[in-house]
Amino acid sequence: MSKQFKCHQGIGTKTQGLALVANDGFSARYDLDRIQGVFSRPAHKLYEQSYIDKILVLNTAKGGVASAWMLHEMCSRGIAPKAILFNSANTILAQGAALAGMTMCDRFEDGDVTELFHTGDQLIVDPVKGLVTIT
């Protein structure tokens, strides 16, 4: 039985995939080996895990402005997540998603997004309606 969660209007197009969840932050520069497509920061809760084609579910965006270009670069090589869901995005990640054509949503009405979803959940993300469905 599917379950729906409401969030703020996001960026990108409707997409679906498997969730990869952690109560941690996200920066493409600080946290990723973008060539291999894995988290490379030893202190990150998803260290050494692949993010390729996943729907990342994380607490918030961290750090610098480089992520905006980097999301675009990652998508151009197909070594990228399908979507990112945050409790709270920052401006950089939203700008990067807009250029990259990556789906991104935040501000969920039902609570902490890292608790609403679990790694391995099959999700459908509709950023225009602001809806995420566990199928």
Partner: protein, 414 residues
């Protein structure tokens, strides 16, 4: 979002393809953050190093530039963050011709767009600082937090794509830090120990950023009773922005919007959170211990001011680096010219250090140059860089400038 006549013309393509793309891009972002309109900006500043851009990003800039000088020229003064390749020194650093060529293509496209290649993350110290109430579209988190907090101008973190969109259109969506209500404090910190050097200012900023941990939190700090220097606030803000994605802080009685606690807490005064000296030591203790070997000592992030270079020149006078330790120093082209004229560059390089111009260590293919030079352990006085660099495979350590120089001579952390 409400669009005026000119903005509708841009969106319809009447002012060319670059403006059409730029307005559509900013509309997406503005709608996500509930902007109701655009606001004119007086300057833009873009982060666009080739490592971040990749082939895709460089091609994107080339396409924008390829629409011809009338359509593609930025309409406001637009400057750049540090580059990723110092084209006079890249081979010695272990960077490849492919990296240098991406850099050359980026510079060419930017120049075609009318962008001024200042290549600096300390533009607020050396080019044209914006003034109180000025709306700008700046990239580089350290630049933005200083601009918002110390100068009282207004900017969100603008990634490269949004910065170039602002440059082409002369505007940005009016949300976040452009709005009075988003500049009100949501967290309140009290300190009873004034930091004693740039690194300690960075550590304090990092602790506040770590606790806030959100772009949308605005800390106000009490307990700093006399004005810090520009370099101290530079390190304080850069570390806070790096650890917390924090774009604005207030210091009561010091920063221009915080004449009193009440003025920046009009939605209610938050409960006070004390930060002890012990907590700051705990944060520093995560980064390196006495006796650890040091492969490379880095002074960067942010680029060094002329005052920092003067201090460094004094510290290295008459010294030589350990045979297995390198030292990299990064500054802006504008500062490098003064450093050369004043003799600081010669003194710094005499100890065996390398002064890079117009780049910053972490955005110049840090992983690849680490592998090329055998650098695994990095020691720096920048709290920002030790937060960034572990993702590139380095083991970071943090000490003040004097300790860094002494450790570079000894080859290990003293």
């Amino acid at each position: 979002m409400q669009l005026n006549k000119e903005e509708k013309a841009m969106l319809n393509g009447e002012l060319g393809e670059p403006a059409k793309w730029a307005l559509a891009h900013m509309l997406q972002v503005g709608q996500m953050f509930d902007a109701e309109s655009f606001v004119n900006v007086s300057q833009a500043h873009m982060m666009a190093d080739p490592e971040s851009l990749g082939e895709a990003g460089v091609h994107f800039l080339e396409q924008l530039a390829g629409h011809g000088s009338v359509q593609s020229q930025v309409r406001i003064p637009m400057i750049t963050d540090p580059r990723g390749v110092d084209l006079t020194q890249y081979q010695a650093l272990g960077q490849t011709e492919e990296m240098a060529n991406l850099e050359r293509r980026t510079i060419k496209a930017c120049e075609q767009l009318g962008i001024l290649m200042t290549n600096t993350c300390i533009n607020y110290q050396i080019t044209m600082p914006p003034v109180l109430g000025d709306h700008v579209a700046y990239g580089d988190t350290g630049v933005v937090i200083y601009t918002n907090s110390v100068l009282g101008a207004r900017s969100n973190f603008e990634g490269g794509p949004s910065a170039i969109a602002a440059g082409i259109t002369g505007r940005t969506p009016k949300y976040g830090l452009h709005l009075n209500e988003k500049r009100q404090s949501t967290r309140r910190f009290s300190i009873n120990h004034r930091p004693g050097n740039l690194t300690e200012w960075g550590i304090l900023g990092a602790e506040i950023g770590r606790r806030c941990n959100s772009y949308w939190e605005v800390p106000v700090i009490e307990g700093i009773t006399t004005a810090p220097t520009s370099d101290e606030l530079k390190h304080f803000g850069a570390a806070m922005a790096s650890f917390g994605s924090t774009p604005l802080f207030h210091i009561v009685g010091i920063t221009p919007e915080a004449s009193s606690l009440e003025v920046v807490c009009q939605n209610g005064i938050p409960p006070v959170e004390k930060i002890s000296e012990d907590e700051l030591y705990q944060l520093q203790d995560q980064f390196g211990k006495k006796g650890d070997k040091v492969d490379v000592v880095v002074f960067a992030a942010p680029q060094l001011s002329i005052i920092e270079l003067a201090d460094l020149a004094k510290l290295v006078d008459g010294k030589k680096l350990h045979s297995k330790t390198d030292m990299i120093v990064c500054t802006a082209p504008g500062v490098a010219a003064d450093s050369e004229r004043l003799g600081f560059t010669r003194r710094i390089e005499s100890c065996g250090a390398r002064l890079l111009v117009g780049t910053c260590f972490y955005n110049q293919y840090a992983k690849e140059i680490g592998e090329a030079n055998g650098w695994k352990t990095i020691l720096s006085n920048s709290t920002k860089i030790v937060n960034i660099i572990s993702g590139y495979g380095y083991k970071p350590a943090l000490r003040n400038m004097e300790q860094c120089v002494a450790s570079a001579v000894a080859g290990e952390i003293l």
